[in-house]
Symmetry: none
Subunit: 197 residues, 4 copies
DNA sequence: GATGAATGAGCTTTCATTCAT
DNA sequence: AATGAATGAAAGCTCATTCAT
């Protein structure tokens, strides 16, 4: 089991390095040698772990979706109101955007923008389903409880994701007047106001 | 027709063709010969109108921002409530996303995703300021009227832009269960609920 | 008409240079930069003339088949016996193998050996049909005249081509005890003996 | 079973697998991992048996030449006329081309085509001498008997090998109108007509 | 202004071979 | 003897940009 474990660890380290480079410099501006350099390995060897650059990108989005999904799942499992859940989701999202900005940026600048890369195998948001599913659960629970208005899920999902993504984009543009985390309460309030019954 | 006029018309036709190609196929996947082909002109000649591919991309975002800005300005000048304005903005946005999807996609898939292209000269959203300014006017008017809650502008802007962009993205992914225009009322309602006093 | 002519001439010069390199060094051992170097042009520019290395190889076999076909056509049109035609075909074949050995070698070492290169578009000897057709005419004429025995064309074609190709191969291996042209009479005699009524 | 015996058996299994892959897919298109995969062994381990890919190719041609040589030797040792021997050689050649096509193809598509691979150590047909020697014996016997005309051996060898190889090539191209074995009599007759006194 | 051949740098990917385990 | 991760050198091909015509 040792060998496979080592291989899995290396795979993850490649994904981590690529995630940062893709997010910071763009998918097309990041070359395989760039990634190899960062990891101090040879470019050829990367292909022992991922069959192509596109394949690597696809594994990263699945991985990232999983990480974010897990954070939301934990919130979903808490015994708190939907209003409180919204606040916590916004908070964790912004926290991640501060601590691991590459994760959020990967959604915005790699996944969302380079459709041709994800065409084959990630259609219909299948590669981000782990993340989307948790938001769906959050929403359905709130509707069941009578806390959230019953509307098309995508109306709610688009609000959540677009809004949070939009804020992170604005942060990246350097136009926000203060730290993004200070926006948490305002934004959570807005989202709740939009979704409540 | 004067020389400069002819040149301006040709410039715009280049921008229109590039807009479509960049939006549909991605900035990096669109080559200068692709654009030239579509216009039945030579690749070299393009450089008589735009000094580089990046420069072309920057002019397009300014142009697009202007077109969208004008649409919103017209709404801003109407003597109607903020609630009604929101509905009209949503409506016009979705209408454009149906009729000229390349304009909206340019924001999502070109501008948002290829920061390195817009680094030099479009920092701080300066290239989309025409569009942003109109939304700022809409928001300030609403606050002045007492219709909208007084909050940080970017909280409102992120909501508006992120939400609408997010919905168009979901449409592009083919996950929406019905035509995007049927979402207009729901979404306008959500936005108004989020922004009202 | 000047431009197109110049382009056609350059195309042919590329084919000629490639023909030599492919024949002498093998298809897979010849790189695009090798060809470009020989022509003192850039590798990229080659792709303005041929869309791929395989495409280039295919155009060369068609071209070569045409050249050889023309030589045989001239013999076919002479008013001489089949026995005499055989002698002349053998003679011209060996002459070419001395003066332009790369043409014969291209058949033997590139076309015949790298099937995967010619798979798409040259199936069923379609790319050497000009050459094969002339041999077919030679054979049919001889049969009609009553000089040659009526047998399956491919029995005759295989004899002709295999035999001549085999001799050139032996020459290339350096095992022939004397100059290949000294074999002309023997070989023509053998072929005639095999094909006569 | 002794160590060396086990090693010899494994060597032969490697040669057999490589023979098939090289013949079917081409020498340069067959990778060492391809061979290893087919044998369910590791790429590195192959190098415990053959010092390089080229070396492997050279051992295969010697091996193949031996196998074919043996078949002809048996015919040579029979007490039958040269005419009959020709028929049997043609027959066995086509039979092998049906049952173990990779052996014949190895001559045509690997040995004949990739001279650079066999340059060092197989010059002057030394690696196929076993096969060539048997044909030489066949020919000399026939001449001694007064059955075959006395001519340069290579005139006869080129005929034999070129003709048979050519027919197998035509078969591979799919242009033969019927099964190759139906050509046996025609071709044997042609060869005999060419070689008899 | 218009053309498109030409360049040159750079990209992803492949693969024979080595070597630590 | 066996593994397979690792290397490094190359290959085919792409493309923004230039420039002679």
């Amino acid at each position: 089991m040792k060998k496979e474990e080592r291989k899995a660890i290396k795979k993850e380290s490649i994904m981590q390095a690529s995630l940062e480079l893709f997010s910071n410099n763009g998918f097309h501006k990041t070359t395989i040698p760039d990634i190899a350099n960062k990891l101090k390995m040879s470019a050829g060897n990367l292909y022992n772990y991922f069959s192509s650059k596109n394949m690597l990108a696809k594994e990263i989005i699945r991985y990232t979706s999983g990480v974010l999904g897990k954070e939301i799942r934990e919130i979903n499992m808490m015994d708190i109101s939907s209003e409180e859940k919204i606040k916590r989701i916004v908070k964790i999202y912004f926290k991640i955007s501060q601590e691991k900005p590459e994760m959020i940026d990967y959604f915005l600048r790699v996944y969302l923008a380079n459709r041709e890369v994800f065409n084959d195998g990630c259609e219909g948001m299948i590669c981000v389903s782990e993340f989307m599913t948790e938001l769906m659960i959050f929403f359905d629970d709130g509707v069941s409880n009578g806390e959230l208005r019953n509307q098309d899920f995508f109306s709610a999902f688009g609000l959540f994701m677009g809004y949070l993504g939009g804020m992170v984009f604005l942060k990246g543009e350097g136009v926000l007047t203060s730290n993004i985390e200070t926006y948490t309460d305002d934004i959570a309030r807005n989202i709740y106001a939009a979704l409540r019954v």
